[in-house]
Point group: C2
Chain length 204, copies 2
């Protein structure tokens, strides 16, 4: 019997959406609890390290979105065919994490001059550096990020690329056809598409 899962996060895609994609793909039931900003200070005190998302597995609270996603991916056959492919998933998820951290530093920058400088450098250097490497990798790999089948890493890419288009506009991926195709491929998986069709509409 499947454990009782409760995913606790804000009313957002954010750091939880790839976990929701795994549940959708695996056809696993879970509670999708969304904490309002008003309730957060009280809920925060009960969370293992004061942060979300947290997945409760049969009542045991587990923090850290990628640790949770990796665990579920292993349970439901989405972590590659072997340890080598599982490693490649981990490498790419963390590398995408590095890029997202640079993006977050840009978005949080308060000083308008520094923000422009950061944006210029992002657009000219950092983003093309990473995306061209990812693009090459997908092109050499039959359109999957790892191995020859879907993994949780593809979900992390798809969700990140959706956010990337929100921030930089739909044309931002035009130079990266393989990345764009991966995103479309994931969103066209029937179980994912069904989830995306019914999920709450949120800004981020």
């Amino acid at each position: 019997m499947s454990p009782h899962y409760k995913l606790i996060y804000f009313n957002a895609r954010g750091r939880a959406e790839h976990i929701r994609f795994i549940f959708a793909y695996a056809g696993v039931e879970y509670e999708d609890e969304r904490i309002s900003r008003e309730k957060w200070p009280e809920v925060k005190k009960r969370m293992p390290f004061g942060m979300l998302p947290v997945l409760e597995i049969d009542g045991k609270a587990v923090a850290q979105s990628n640790a949770v996603a990796r665990y579920l991916a292993r349970q439901y056959g989405l972590a590659g065919r072997n340890e080598w492919e599982a490693l490649q998933c981990d490498v790419l998820v963390d590398t995408l994490g590095d890029l997202k951290q640079v993006l977050a530093q840009f978005r949080m920058e308060q000083d308008p001059i520094k923000k422009e400088e950061k944006k210029a450098r992002l657009m000219r250097e950092t983003i093309p550096f990473y995306l061209s490497k990812f693009e090459k990798m997908l092109s050499e790999n039959n359109g999957f990020s790892v191995g020859s089948d879907i993994t949780w890493c593809d979900f992390v890419f798809a969700v990140s690329l959706e956010n990337f288009e929100h921030i930089f506009g739909k044309a931002a991926l035009d130079q990266y056809p393989a990345l764009k195709a991966l995103k479309i491929k994931v969103y066209n998986i029937p179980s994912i598409s069904a989830w995306v069709g019914k999920r709450p509409t949120t800004e981020s």
Copy 2:
């Protein structure tokens, strides 16, 4: 037969030392290549994502220190007894990573006033918050971070706590006896102790 491993990093403990601990503990041979600052710009171009550490496994370059460490930990029996314990390792390593990121932001702060503010907040809130949670967990867990035996997570803790003492002084862990005991336990493992006795002395 064991693969040919080459660990490429700077002449530092940094983000590679927990990997070296895994190799030492498992008794696995590897090349410990240390790149000088002068050679780095040239080496950087050849690295998968322009960063170190990288582990070459039979000539295949793999980036991301924690992905590499997790993979090796699984190969050599240091990732817990089952998937649940492997998950707990991942959660704690990433949570310690969150704390280290806050520490890095403090160390990189250029503005002396902001730096003092960040330090005060770290000492008053962030560090006690995390360390007291880790302390409680170790006390409830027979002195191991996960399960009832040594894991790669213990190595990540030990190496981080050594750096913590370097930054904040030896007395910084006095309030956290279980953390201190874990650090000592890891450094007293004969294979680790032998490595620490012969490794190059470096600042960080």
